[in-house]
């Protein structure tokens, strides 16, 4: 298999974000290609969530730019998009899976409604077809069909995360952002979710940016890794190379601190 065409899906350059006097993220540049999974790792406060917020245009940078190749092939400057265009991108070509499912789901709306809503936003109108598509995606994330009318606040943590993924996948996004998607889940539940994400990435050629503090999750899911510290990307490269032959002092410390099961 030959690597896909050599123009990246997303090119971020010099992203910098301050919160008042505090540095969120400084001068981070990153390219993401189609089908490529990039893990952003580091401790809390290292700037990894700020970087994810900037990449997904939920935060505005103090400086820096992001160009994204739209479905029509044209590369656009994301921070120059109009609000309507940006929202359209977010609910069609992109996905966002939050650690806290309450940020990604409407807890008072049925599981089917949560998935169907995203289809309606891209113009689906036929109730039967929307319901059938929602059912098929619930099945693909291993949620029983008879839970389609139940609200996510009756779901377990693992099910909520899987529902978030179904909701995002239904519009066949090319790029999905994940913020600690397995955080706070039991290990067995986490394994099931990781397996699901791994399958979708392979089967649909998804590109993904995954923020995690768990290096095992990064190793399992990602092709490339970005190590953040104090708001800067201090080391980046092939995932197994960075984890097995870390170069920077901080990365060596991070890798040496992993608990072996």
């Amino acid at each position: 298999m030959i690597a896909p065409a050599d123009h990246p899906l997303l090119v971020a350059e010099g992203l910098t974000k301050h919160y008042g006097p505090h540095l969120g993220c400084a001068d981070v540049s990153l390219e993401i290609h189609e089908g490529e999974v990039v893990a952003v790792v580091g401790e809390s406060g290292s700037g990894k969530s700020t970087l994810l917020g900037l990449l997904s245009t939920q935060l505005l940078p103090n400086s820096g730019s992001i160009r994204y190749r739209m479905r029509d092939g044209e590369a656009r400057d994301l921070f120059a998009l109009g609000e309507a265009e940006r929202r359209f991108l977010l609910r069609t070509d992109w996905g966002f899976v939050h650690q806290d499912a309450r940020l990604g789901l409407r807890m008072g709306v049925s599981a089917g409604g949560n998935v169907g809503e995203r289809l309606m936003a891209v113009g689906w109108r036929n109730y039967g077809r929307i319901r059938a598509e929602a059912e098929s995606w619930l099945e693909r994330v291993e949620i029983a069909r008879d839970r389609i009318d139940d609200r996510p606040d009756t779901f377990s943590g693992g099910m909520r995360q899987r529902l978030q993924i179904a909701k995002n996948m239904v519009t066949r996004p090319r790029l999905i952002f994940m913020d600690e998607p397995t955080g706070g889940l039991d290990v067995s539940v986490q394994a099931r979710l990781l397996d699901l994400i791994r399958g979708f990435v392979n089967d649909y050629g998804l590109a993904a940016v995954i923020v995690t503090h768990d290096l095992a999750v990064a190793r399992l899911l990602s092709h490339r890794i970005v190590v953040m510290r104090h708001g800067r990307a201090i080391e980046t490269g092939l995932t197994d190379q960075v984890l097995d032959d870390p170069r920077e002092p901080y990365t060596q410390l991070l890798v040496a601190s992993i608990l072996q099961a």
Partner: protein, 238 residues
């Protein structure tokens, strides 16, 4: 032999670990590593342990960085210097060209043994049915009991995991195969099975570079042995 193309070419490759957790101690591993491996031959890296044999294999696979020199790999689109290649092209070469088998299996949660092996066969281009057939025949050849095939290998014994890993490494028929002690701690029957697999890949024209501590395995598969001691960083004459 000389009719077969060179598949791996190392030129003045060097590796030094810098241990920042130990006050920045420098640990030179190898220097001036230069050799070639052609298709259809099995070259064995020899020498005592701790001389950097594994590190050389890992640099060729792109798992360790090389600090100096070139590691040229004959890929489907021409030569690629893996010491300078971007991550995407390293990954693409691993899919198309370079296989790597160690004695340790990194298990993937929830994926059954047969699926682990079949997935590797599919990566190299076999369809689903052919991949599963090949996976099953490899597991059979390596004496993995059929009752284990559908189970995730996480709970298997060390020896069983090792054989799953070998099956996975041989499932994809890539033109370059790196073997890091694949037969360590296997019994005689399974060692013989691995020797058979290596010989088959050689006949199919694969370039094989390996580390084997069992002398009987080494004597049976090796066309040449390279003594890694000559690449010691402090070796005289450099």
């Amino acid at each position: 032999m000389s009719a077969n193309p060179v598949m791996i070419r190392l030129d003045a490759v060097a590796k030094t670990f810098v241990m920042h957790l130990r006050g920045g101690a420098r640990l030179p591993v190898v220097a001036g590593v230069s050799f070639e491996v052609r298709g259809g031959e099995c070259v064995v890296l020899g020498g005592p342990s701790g001389t950097g044999k594994s590190s050389i294999l890992k640099m060729i696979y792109g798992n360790y960085r090389a600090d100096g020199g070139r590691i040229d790999i004959h890929g489907p689109a021409g030569w690629v210097d893996i010491a300078r290649a971007v991550p995407r092209s390293v990954l693409s070469l691993r899919k198309s060209t370079i296989g790597y088998v160690s004695q340790f299996l990194r298990v993937i949660p929830r994926v059954g043994a047969l699926d682990v092996v079949a997935a590797s066969a599919r990566e190299s281009g076999l369809d689903e049915t052919a991949a599963r057939t090949r996976a099953a025949s490899l597991l059979d050849m390596l004496n993995v009991p059929e009752r284990l095939w559908s189970l995730p290998p996480a709970t298997f014994s060390g020896g069983e995991q090792q054989r799953i890993n070998i099956a996975r490494g041989f499932a994809a028929e890539r033109p370059i195969l790196l073997l890091d002690e694949p037969t360590a701690s296997l019994d005689a029957t399974n060692r013989a099975a691995v020797v058979g697999l290596i010989e088959a890949r050689k006949r199919a024209g694969a370039a094989i570079l390996g580390i084997f501590h069992d002398e009987d395995v080494r004597d049976r598969v090796a066309d040449r042995v390279i003594d890694v001691a000559k690449f010691a960083p402090e070796a005289p004459g450099r």
